[in-house]
Symmetry: C2
Subunit: 221 residues, 2 copies
């Protein structure tokens, strides 16, 4: 079992719940951070002290308050940490069940666990901690099944840019111009139209407005 764990989570009542589990698992050093910035500092400090954390249990969304923070989300924190301390195990503990977001963290950021805060969340978290301590990984069952069958759509960077510009109010002419300035290809009017047509087909969108709302709902842009 882990000896030194950091919990990054801003809601106190959930912190209490997590803490009680860690105590039951007889974790010796339990630290808490209510801000992402704090979490990063503590982890850096622990490395400097030659006594690094072994596991981070991390929420994704942190409420803003009066404090100025540079890291506002768990995603940013995790992305940094994988450079700072690659051997640090990470379990995401969040209410966020959107497959797109979970998939990015699991596959790209390579977190070791992803646990949903639901009715049985704490029990699952305990399970996850045990698994990860054995060098296995853990993903909440509901999420695991949807991730498997849900053949996730990942939009290529080009399509993301195209749709984002549309959503932000650029006309196709403006996008063509912009792509030419930035050296992004293809940038002809024709190609842009064709991509949009293909995307409409792919997503069964009747109009371009429809298309943009669909990809926004799917959080692809």
């Amino acid at each position: 079992m882990f000896k030194k764990i950091l919990v990054a989570e801003d809601i106190e009542s959930i912190n209490q719940g997590v803490h009680s589990i860690l105590e039951r698992l007889q974790v010796q050093h339990i630290s808490h951070a209510q801000y992402c910035d704090d979490a990063l500092l503590r982890i850096k400090r622990a490395i400097y002290d030659k006594n690094p954390f072994e596991l981070l249990i991390c929420d994704l969304s942190f409420k803003k308050d009066h404090r100025n923070v540079t890291l506002s989300s768990g995603q940013e924190l995790i992305a940094l940490l994988k450079k700072e301390q690659p051997n640090l195990k990470i379990i995401v503990f969040t209410i966020e069940d959107h497959p797109q977001i979970a998939s990015t963290l699991i596959n790209d950021c390579e977190v070791e666990g992803y646990v949903l805060k639901n009715r049985k969340g704490l029990a699952e978290l305990e399970e996850a901690i045990k698994k990860v301590a054995q060098n296995k990984s853990y993903i909440s069952p509901q999420l695991a099944t949807t991730l498997k069958r849900n053949n996730l759509v990942v939009l290529p960077e080009y399509e993301i840019q195209l749709l984002t510009h549309l959503a932000n109010g650029l006309t196709q002419d403006q996008i063509e111009l912009h792509f030419k300035k930035q050296g992004i290809t293809p940038n002809s009017r024709s190609a842009i139209e064709k991509r949009l047509k293909d995307l409409r087909d792919d997503f069964n969108a009747q109009t371009t407005v429809h298309l943009v709302t669909i990809v926004k709902d799917l959080q692809l842009i």
Copy 2:
């Protein structure tokens, strides 16, 4: 102070936190419901038993699981309850800080309290319970300030329909036709165009796609 309180909340660790507060406030009867349907049943039953609840502390979002539920959100529950037991006090305790949603609950559904689950959430909840027990109302400070200055936009039903149809892939021609069938006026092509132009101006949208993404982000549709 209240003697009989129901807590509708699906995440166990938060339930624990709320429970500990209610105990400190020496509430005699504390009930919990992990599903909206359960909450409704318990409240009805309590009325039938001539021993109704005095206060409901209610989350908004409830995770779906294997159980079939008819009420899937706190909003639906609250809307029903205000008919079922008009004198029941309600405090919303949620992570949802979108002013649009909060405003609807506070002004339309007339809940007595709206507390955000943030770093000081439990302390605020305690404060709210005390206030509401004195027939006052309570709104989380952060929210209260934004609600005041944020001169909330409320879109008339007609505009909501128009934009929703656009977002769902109808062309302006199809919308004109649809409005005529439904007897919704104005339904001329011209009027539809004019409304969209006005809306684009109101929201500083460059294009119609832009407009739709803006109102979707604001959760106006």
